[in-house]
Amino acid sequence: MIQVKGLKKVFKDLEVLKGIDFNIKKGEVVCLIGPSGSGKSTVLRCLNRLEEIDGGTVLVDGQDVANNKIDLNVLRQKLGMVFQSFNLFPHLTVIENVTLSPINLKKLPKAEAIKKGFELLEKVGLKEKAYVYPDKLSGGQKQRVAIARALAMGPEIMLFDEPTSALDPEMVGEVLQVMKDLASEGMTMIVVTHEMGFAREVANRVLFLSDGYLVEEGKPEDIFNNPKNERTKEFLSKVL
């Protein structure tokens, strides 16, 4: 479903991705782990081209993401994205946040989009907050709304960029639970995370990134119990 080959990204003089290769199959849950600054988030942001791709190829559903001829807006509808800082639209209510894109991209008639929006809010357990503005929500609630919003366009793949890093510890669980539910429904997910517990429990595969390289990948039990690479060992000894 996603094929990444030789992906490179340069910020000014700093090469943050130095040639990354990996594939993601449909229905897989893949966690990207690694130290800060290793390029995890940049990889994710290259997949829907929030960052321009400086080298290599990224194919999503066989489509070359870096190709300027493709309709990026259509591609992005296939890739739901959830951000560390939620990025809810503060001037819109919860239900308006969730229905903004389906209504304005005419994916659904308004009444239907709202009905679907309520279903999604129910799924993340926030139906009763539909007419509230985001500033009245807790961090965990905001992130659950953000997940519902990302699901509203019916994406095939969900990208999570450190979804729990900005949350108070007691709110991490509720967000992870929603993500687990999604995973169990068979959603293809790529998750940049520091939640090793989640990676161990939910991921089919873990990719370890360090200094712009994909250093090691494998099943979570292999990565966490028997890391082969020195850098992986060193990182895991610090975080586990």
Binding site: V74, Q77, G80, M81, F83, F89, P90, H91, N104, Y133
Partner: protein, 216 residues
């Protein structure tokens, strides 16, 4: 002549001046807002040429005095191009272009102040740039810009008084005409000042109530 009689005598001329002032200001501020938004969008664009166009516009109109702009549009351009521009049109043009230049900066700053995560979130949903601007960025930006916009409206409203130099019979010019016939400088300028003051106070309070209503 007591002040009340004087006021009654000057009132028709003052009111017609007031009307012209409001007319020039209202038309100009609508045009200025459109100019500010349009060139503001150019100013934040990644295209260097578009950006340059916006910068040149802003620099020209911020870099020269309004009164010189008025003379240039009313006397300079017609002389060079051999056309006739009515004073009212020249006045509206002058205030619009001048206020528009300042509004570009207000729009640019207002848009830049919106967290960049908002643009990313909206684009990642598949919303195109234009829709993102209209539905996500501008509604938030404009909310923060209201005090600055109102400030510019007030400045421009007062700037219309300079248009008396090209013979527009706005409020200030009306004052001068009244004084030419009654020689009562102190009272007449007091009336004129009070008229301006009331207009601006009305604008200020209207703005405050809009701002309150838009608060989330």
């Amino acid at each position: 002549m007591d002040i009340l009689t004087l006021f009654k005598q000057s009132l028709p001329a003052l009111l017609s001046g007031l009307y012209v002032t409001l007319e020039v200001a209202a038309i100009s501020l609508v045009i200025a807002t459109v100019l500010g938004l349009s060139f503001g969008m150019l100013a934040i664009s990644r295209n260097k040429i578009l950006k340059f166009v916006a910068i040149v516009y802003v620099d020209i109109f911020r870099g020269t005095p309004l009164i010189v702009q008025a003379f240039f549009i009313y006397f300079g351009l017609p002389a060079a191009l051999d056309i006739k521009i009515p004073a009212f049109v020249a006045g509206v043009l002058c205030i619009s272009l001048n206020a528009g230049a300042y509004m570009v900066e207000i729009f640019r700053a207002g848009i830049m102040a919106v967290d960049k995560g908002q643009m990313e979130a909206s684009r990642s949903l598949g919303l195109p740039y234009g829709k993102t601007m209209k539905l996500v960025i501008l509604p938030q930006a404009i909310r923060n810009m209201i005090p600055a916009i109102i400030n510019q409206f007030i400045i421009s409203l007062k700037d219309t008084s300079l248009l008396s130099v090209i013979g527009i019979k706005e409020l200030t010019q009306s004052g001068e005409i009244i004084i030419a016939s009654n020689y009562r400088s102190f009272e007449t300028w007091s009336f004129v000042a009070i008229f301006y003051f009331i207009m601006i106070m009305a604008l200020t309070y209207a703005a405050r109530s809009v701002e309150r209503r838009l608060k989330i």
